[in-house]
């Protein structure tokens, strides 16, 4: 479904965020991306939907080379790939409903959407998405009046509006209390298992990886240092990924 080949990203200031990263994701997988802060996880996820332009390498989405796609082409690809962010990235002053609705923008006409006109079908879809994350009763309150966990669920509902085949989740639980982490990841797991949506999720805590992921890759200083099943990450692997001084801790 997704194939990454020799992906390299060098920022204008000379930082090499990704070095020759190659891996493949099969449909229906829940892939965890692990590594220290600054190891290139966020850059990797953003290269997949080209929020960040890769320096070199190829990314194939269902056989189509995304790095060669035109502006219109990449927007067509983006709308099939939902994204969930560490800081939720909701428009705080807009209502929850409008935030969820903005997930549909890739499908609708520019003029009518600029006037905030959406079809009845899309409105129903938005309510259904909110129902899926248990927030239908909060549709018409402002986004910033919700708690962090609720905001992240709105973020998931927004991604669902895209009818995605893949969800990219960039540290979706890093800004939340550990107890809320499970609730958010359970929603992602549910979408993965029940709807067959592929999930690529960067995570900090290894026990979350063991609990939710079906496969894992690890980055260290922009290089791919591990690829396999979550349970294959033993102490030796762990030290290789996180450095000799790291200690295993768990999130609740």
């Amino acid at each position: 479904m997704l194939k990454v080949e020799n992906l390299t990203k060098t920022y204008p200031n000379g930082t090499q965020a990704l070095k020759n990263v190659s891996f493949e994701v099969k449909a229906g997988e829940f892939l965890a991306v692990i590594g220290l802060s600054g190891s290139g996880k966020s850059t990797l996820l953003r290269c997949i939907n080209r929020l960040i332009e890769p320096t070199s390498g190829k990314i194939y989405w269902n056989g189509q080379d995304t790095t060669a796609a035109s502006n219109a082409g990449i927007r067509k690809i983006r709308r099939q790939i939902g994204m969930v962010f560490q800081q939720f990235n909701l428009v705080k002053r807009s209502s929850v409903f409008t935030n969820v609705m903005s997930g549909r923008l890739g499908y609708v006409n520019t003029l009518s959407s600029s006037l905030h006109i959406f079809s009845a079908e899309d409105r129903q879809r938005a309510m259904a998405s909110l129902e899926q994350v248990g927030l239908a009763n909060k549709a018409h309150v402002r986004a910033d009046s919700l708690s962090g966990g609720q905001q992240q669920r709105v973020g998931i509902a927004r991604a669902l509006m895209q009818s995605p085949n893949l969800i990219l989740a960039d540290e979706p639980v890093a800004s939340l209390d550990p107890v809320l982490a499970h609730s958010i990841l359970k929603y992602l797991e549910q979408l993965n298992k029940e709807r067959g949506i592929t999930v690529i999720c960067s995570l900090h805590f290894l026990d979350l990886v063991h609990r939710y992921a079906t496969s894992a890759i690890a980055l260290k200083d922009g290089e791919l240092v591990f690829q396999g099943l979550p349970k294959q990450i033993d102490d030796a692997q762990f030290k290789a990924i996180y450095g000799q001084e790291a200690e295993r801790v768990s999130a609740v």
């Binding site: 994204m83 962010f85 990235n89 903005s102 923008l105 600029s114 009046s145």
Partner: protein, 687 residues
């Protein structure tokens, strides 16, 4: 300075450094690794030396004769400053720290003596011409608002007359005469007159062709309000595209965008540095005298000010939602609509409302140069000595501006604290639709009316006056001959000193009042509570009237010149500083006060240790801010007889010497931009 830092200073250099400073001020400090202090002392002494020399040469400031040698006695404090600088090095060397207060004292003596002289302060005039002032005061206190006609004879019915009239009527005592609004008040507000029916009424069949209908003729204040409204609307619309061009985060996405960004920022800063009133002088060459010129001048300055504020707002938006909406596959327009617009709309609206307030104030004085509005009315009436008529204008301006100030700040608060969702999908009821339709129709009607009375004419906009081409050419080719530059620089210095004295005087007056106008200090006591409202009221009313409108009074009292301008500026300074100071006092943290009282300190100790440290930095910061504002204001105060560079500018404009006027404008831009930059820097260092 800590002991460890002190030990860093090599001891062999230290006695030498005293010697260094006695040769060149600041050099010793520089060697003691107090680079900034050294540089500052050096620059200060250079500036002081120049000022002493310049003021002696031009205005004979401090001139004395000692045995045939003519010099300025100001060299004495200068020598003392130099001596302090040497002592400072010594103390720094021995103790590691030293106070700058003596140095500041000598600097202040020199600067204030020069400022006093070049501003032409003549305190004796305040007393000698007190009788003149009394006449003005009597006229001001008895405005021409109400006319009473007794047996066919019309007289002005001022406050005391109105009071007794109303009293008599209420208690049923017989009272001769009929009262009505005076013609003067009707000129300001507006009156209903029979006029030939306008074309649109004839076309709609509402009136017979050629017949007369009762029409509301807008007064000068209505015209002023219309000017302020139109300028705010136009500048908000124009500032939006400008602000996107001046926002770094937007422009850096395009190739070559950074160049446009810097160019745009530069243009905005230059346009902003030129006061609305100065723009008025330029615009009248373009479209001629009238309200329309006023609207354009207000709009030009407003676009620059709003453009800067808007672009800073765009630069500070949260990038997260932009990323998220882009990731859904939205295109650029959709991303702006859903991720950028919701973030910037409230602050844009709030800034526009703030600008509306400022524009209304400027609109009251733009008539001094551009014609039209209440400013022009004031020029006309005071020229003929109609101080009672002028007083009415002041009262009306005060009422309108206090109201605008109140509405603007309440709306801004409501917008910025708004917690209700901006949800266009939820509330589509008939009532909301009707309400919206009503507002739209009302808005269009107000717009059309304002368009009409401000005489907006696209034709004259596209067809510049015959001198305008000359003006542009001359402005591109300004006169830099030494004689002209010398005159301009001299007047600019006078202007800066004028602004400084006004700030000082205003601050001295404001200091006691600001304590009365602070709610947290006056809340408990009933009498103080009343004084609070009185102080706030006086500050608000004085603040609502522009300095240019005050100049007229002082010109009559102390005569034309920088002194009158300085006094007018000190009134507005008093009002604004009083407001800012009292707010600073209201904002102090109660925690430290509680803590100091808990240690058993008395009231005075509490003030010294808990209150003063909290209010001194903001006070100094506001003083610098006020000086900055006053320099801007002082550049235009000359238009009404307040002296300084404004007088030079109008003289050059009036005699069509545009290349010299261009020099003045260039110097104003440089000085205002420098002051703006320096004051922002200083204030950031303070708070």
């Amino acid at each position: 300075m800590t002991t460890s830092e002190k030990s860093l200073i090599p001891s062999t250099n230290s006695s030498l450094s005293v010697f260094f400073s006695s040769i060149l001020p600041g050099l010793g400090q520089f060697f003691l690794k107090k680079r900034e202090r050294g540089l500052l002392i050096f620059l200060t002494s250079l500036v002081l030396a120049f000022l002493i020399y310049w003021s002696l040469d031009n205005q004979e400031v401090g001139k004395i004769n000692i045995g045939g040698l003519t010099t300025s006695w100001l060299w004495l404090p200068f020598i003392l400053f130099w001596a302090w600088n040497v002592v400072d090095v010594h103390v720094l060397r021995v103790h590691g720290r030293s106070t700058i207060l003596p140095g500041l004292l000598f600097v202040a003596i020199i600067i204030y003596v020069i400022a006093w002289q070049v501003t032409g302060v003549r305190l004796n005039r305040l007393v000698e011409r007190f009788d003149d002032a009394r006449i003005v005061a009597a006229n001001l206190l008895n405005p021409d608002m109400i006319t009473i006609s007794v047996r066919g004879e019309d007289k002005i019915c001022a406050w005391s007359c109105m009071y007794s009239y109303i009293g008599d009527k209420l208690e049923g005592r017989p009272r001769e005469g009929i009262i009505r609004p005076s013609d003067n008040l009707l000129r300001i507000i507006g009156s209903i007159k029979p006029l030939p029916a306008p074309e649109w009424q004839v076309n709609l069949g509402l009136a017979e062709p050629g017949s007369e209908v009762n029409t509301f003729v807008a007064g000068t204040m209505i015209e002023t309000i219309a000017m302020g409204l139109m300028a705010t609307l136009f500048s908000t619309i124009l500032a939006i595209p400008v602000s996107f061009l001046a926002a770094h985060n937007i422009m850096s996405r395009f190739p070559g965008g950074t160049v446009i960004y810097y160019a745009m920022r530069g243009i905005l800063n230059i346009v902003r540095a030129i006061d609305t009133i100065v723009w008025g002088l330029i615009v009248i060459v373009w479209v001629g005298l009238g309200s329309f010129a006023g609207v354009i001048a207000l709009t030009i300055h407003s676009v620059a000010a709003l453009g800067k504020l808007f672009s800073e707002e765009i630069e500070h938006i949260d990038a997260g939602p932009v990323e998220a909406v882009t990731a859904t596959g939205a295109n650029l327009i959709q991303t702006i609509r859903y991720a950028v617009v919701p973030q910037i709309v409230p602050s844009f609206l709030a800034y526009s409302l703030l600008r509306w307030d400022i524009n209304m104030r400027s609109a009251t004085v733009i008539g001094f140069v551009a014609g039209g509005g209440i400013g022009f009315f004031v020029v006309e009436t005071t020229r003929m000595g109609g101080y009672q008529q002028y007083a009415t204008a002041l009262w009306v301006v005060a009422i309108v501006i206090v109201l605008v100030d109140y509405i603007s700040s309440r709306w801004r608060e409501a917008i910025l604290n708004d917690q209700s969702p901006r949800d266009e999908t939820n509330q589509r009821s008939v009532f909301n639709a009707l309400r919206l339709a009503f507002y739209v129709i009302l808005g269009v009607a107000v717009f059309a009316y304002c368009w009409n009375i401000t005489e907006i004419s696209i034709r004259s906009l596209l067809d510049p006056g015959k001198n305008f081409g000359q003006l542009i050419l001359d402005f591109l080719n300004i006169d830099l001959t030494p004689a002209v530059v010398q005159v301009v620089v001299q007047q600019m210095l006078v202007t800066i000193f004028q602004a400084m004295l006004a700030t000082t005087l205003g601050a001295f007056l404001a200091l006691p009042v600001s304590f009365l106008a602070a709610k947290n200090l006056t809340g408990s006591n009933q009498l103080l509570g009343w004084l609070y409202y009185l102080a706030r009221g006086v500050l608000n009313i004085l603040r609502s009237i522009e300095a240019l409108l005050y100049v007229v009074i002082f010109v009559f009292w102390v005569g034309i010149g920088p002194f009158a301008g300085m006094l007018a500026l000190s009134i507005t300074s008093f009002a604004l500083i009083g407001k800012l100071f009292s707010e600073a006092i209201e904002n102090i943290d109660a925690g430290p006060i509680e803590a100091v009282i808990a240690t058993g300190a008395n009231r005075l100790q509490m003030i010294v240790y808990a209150v003063l440290p909290q209010i001194v930095p903001p006070f100094i910061s506001y003083l610098i801010y006020q000086w900055d504002i006053n320099v801007r204001m002082a550049t235009i105060i000359g238009f009404a007889g307040g002296g300084g560079i404004g007088l030079t500018l109008t003289t050059f404009f009036g005699s069509l010497q545009y290349h010299k006027a261009g020099t003045v404008v260039a110097v104003i831009v440089i000085v205002v931009a420098l002051m703006d930059f320096a004051s922002a820097k200083l204030r950031r260092a303070l708070v």
